[in-house]
């Protein structure tokens, strides 16, 4: 009944993976300040395509910060091809739900990761499927 689930409040008050990665392999940024949310994701990817580290910076409401935190937790240690499969729905579920008016925060998280992955591909010259965003 409360505005946010306990899980959301946990990830909001104690966000995981906050910060930046100097010399990141990929950086993604989505949203705009006029709409009230900007998410920036930093990725460190090893040679096998595993996300060794991920960090975020977010300007936004509690659910934007919680979505960033949860999304980074869900992809950390995963292969890039798995990370791009992360849907906003999975983020919402992992957070035990978000209010209807806040669902777009989880969408931003999904998009920020995809944006960072694309940046990684482009910086590293890796070929990828433009639809699935998976490595070829």
């Amino acid at each position: 009944m409360a505005l946010y689930s306990e899980k959301v409040m946990e990830h909001f008050t104690n966000p995981q993976n906050v910060g930046k990665i100097e010399n990141a392999d990929g950086v993604g940024e989505v949203g705009n300040a006029r709409c009230g949310d900007i998410m920036k994701i930093y990725l460190k990817v090893n040679d096998e395509g595993i996300i060794e580290d991920v960090k975020f910076n977010t300007f936004g409401c509690a659910s934007a910060i919680a979505s960033s935190s949860m999304a980074t937790c869900l992809i950390k240690g995963k292969h890039i091809n798995d990370a791009v499969e992360l849907s906003n729905k999975a983020v919402v579920e992992a957070l035990d739900g978000l209010p209807a008016v806040k669902i777009h925060c989880s969408v931003l998280a999904e998009e920020a990761i995809k944006d960072a992955v694309k940046d990684y591909y482009e910086r590293s010259g890796i070929a990828y499927d433009p639809v699935t965003l998976k490595m070829k």
Binding site: F12, C35, T58, A62, A64, I65, P99, H104
Partner: protein
């Protein structure tokens, strides 16, 4: 520990009001329309409350109509004047850009019905210019409605001047005094207003009750039709304890007003001065012409809800924009109307104090702000851009 600094949203019920209510809640449960002694006793109490409230605002008892709150009072006042005007070929209404939604949404409804609405500017300081009202008034203006004090930024409007202009031009003038009554002097005669809205829970009275003042001679149409209550202008069995509690709270607030204005303004100034060292932050509105307890600030690079919820984690109850629009994703229409850029308007914080607050509480609030704002900025990509001198959009 809870520090309640959201008194513009609603207030704690005062002991005085609670005690006045309890008698009726326990024993005096009659319906004022009933002829037997229990009903007549309830009626007497309601009429005493009406007289007390009238005295508090310089009105006559038969100019006081009890409603369910400020929103109902605003709706009834505006619709009454609008339809009265329409019957005489007047379908133009003047208001301001930063009225409460109870006013603006009622005007939206009227626009759909063919009324024309002029919303005057509120400028950067959040204060309407009387000359703008004067030049907006037309032959077919049915109503001017301007709030006495704004609920988000606390600025007090030049109601007396506006009232005088309306009186001279023969236009009905309504003022939403929901944030002002009980906090600053309100007098319907110095205001020169024809109608005025009050909400009890904004001055430590009970929730669910308000008043529409309507000057004798100004035509009032019922919003709720039915029984003959409130001289046929507002049907429904009276919320007797609410009415009595409201009167008790208002009498007390008015009696202690001089003192509380001094006390509460000092608390507010302590906040304003206390955040002065935070870079790229500013206070919205006008420090001179402002409610004693309301202060609205913007902190660039952070978003208001996060700030709010982290303050809440420290036990501090505050607000970002007005309570009613929470759940909405748009930044406050009030700040936007004052020319605050959208991206900065997202980072607003409203603290609204009253005489229940203490200096110690203010100091705790200040130390929380000084911890939370830098933290949120440290994780904010917007703040990073600002630091680098980049354009934020």
């Amino acid at each position: 520990m809870t520090i309640y600094a959201d008194n513009a949203a609603t207030t704690r019920l005062s002991e005085t009001a609670l005690n006045a209510m309890l008698d009726l809640m326990k024993d005096n449960y009659g319906n004022p329309s009933s002829l037997h002694h229990k009903g007549q006793r309830a009626k007497e109490l309601v009429e005493e409350a009406r007289e007390d409230i009238a005295n508090c605002i310089g009105a006559k008892p038969n100019e006081i109509y009890f409603t369910s709150g400020g929103s109902e009072a605003d709706n009834q006042a505006i619709l009454s004047a609008a339809y009265y005007g329409a019957e005489r070929g007047k379908k133009h209404i003047i208001s301001s850009k930063f009225e409460h939604h109870a006013v603006l949404h009622t005007l939206d409804k009227l626009k759909k019905e063919g009324f024309e609405v002029t919303l005057v500017d509120v400028y950067k300081n959040g204060i309407v210019k009387p000359e703008d009202i004067a030049s907006a008034i037309r032959e077919d203006t049915a109503l001017v409605t301007i709030m006495t004090a704004n609920n988000e930024v606390g600025t007090i409007q030049p109601i007396e001047e506006i009232g005088k202009i309306c009186k001279e031009k023969g236009v009905i003038f309504h003022t939403d005094s929901v944030q002002a009554v009980g906090h600053i002097p309100v007098d319907v005669n110095t205001f020169n207003c024809d109608m005025l809205s009050i909400s009890s829970h904004k001055f430590n009275g009970p929730k669910g009750v308000g008043v529409l003042y309507c000057r004798k001679g100004t035509v009032l149409t019922p919003l709720i039709n039915g029984g003959a209550q409130e001289r046929n202008k507002r049907a429904g069995t009276e919320y007797t304890y609410g009415i009595v509690g409201m009167a008790a709270a208002l009498k007390e607030a008015v009696k202690e007003m001089d003192e509380s204005i001094k006390y509460v303004s000092a608390l507010r100034d302590r906040i304003i001065d206390g955040v002065g060292d935070i870079e790229r932050s500013f206070v919205n509105g006008d420090r001179e012409h402002s409610l004693p307890g309301t202060v609205n600030m913007c902190f660039e690079g952070i978003e208001g809800e996060s700030l709010l919820l982290l303050l809440d984690g420290d036990g501090i109850c505050a607000s970002s924009g007005s309570a009613c629009t929470s759940g909405s994703l748009d930044p406050s229409h009030v700040l936007l109307s004052m020319g605050v850029p959208v991206e900065i308007a997202h980072g607003s914080l409203r603290l609204s104090l009253n005489s229940y607050n203490t200096e110690e509480e203010i100091d705790i609030i200040l130390s929380s702000i000084h911890r939370i704002v830098p933290y949120l900025r440290s994780i904010s990509p917007v703040w990073e851009k600002i630091q680098k001198g980049e354009v934020v959009e």
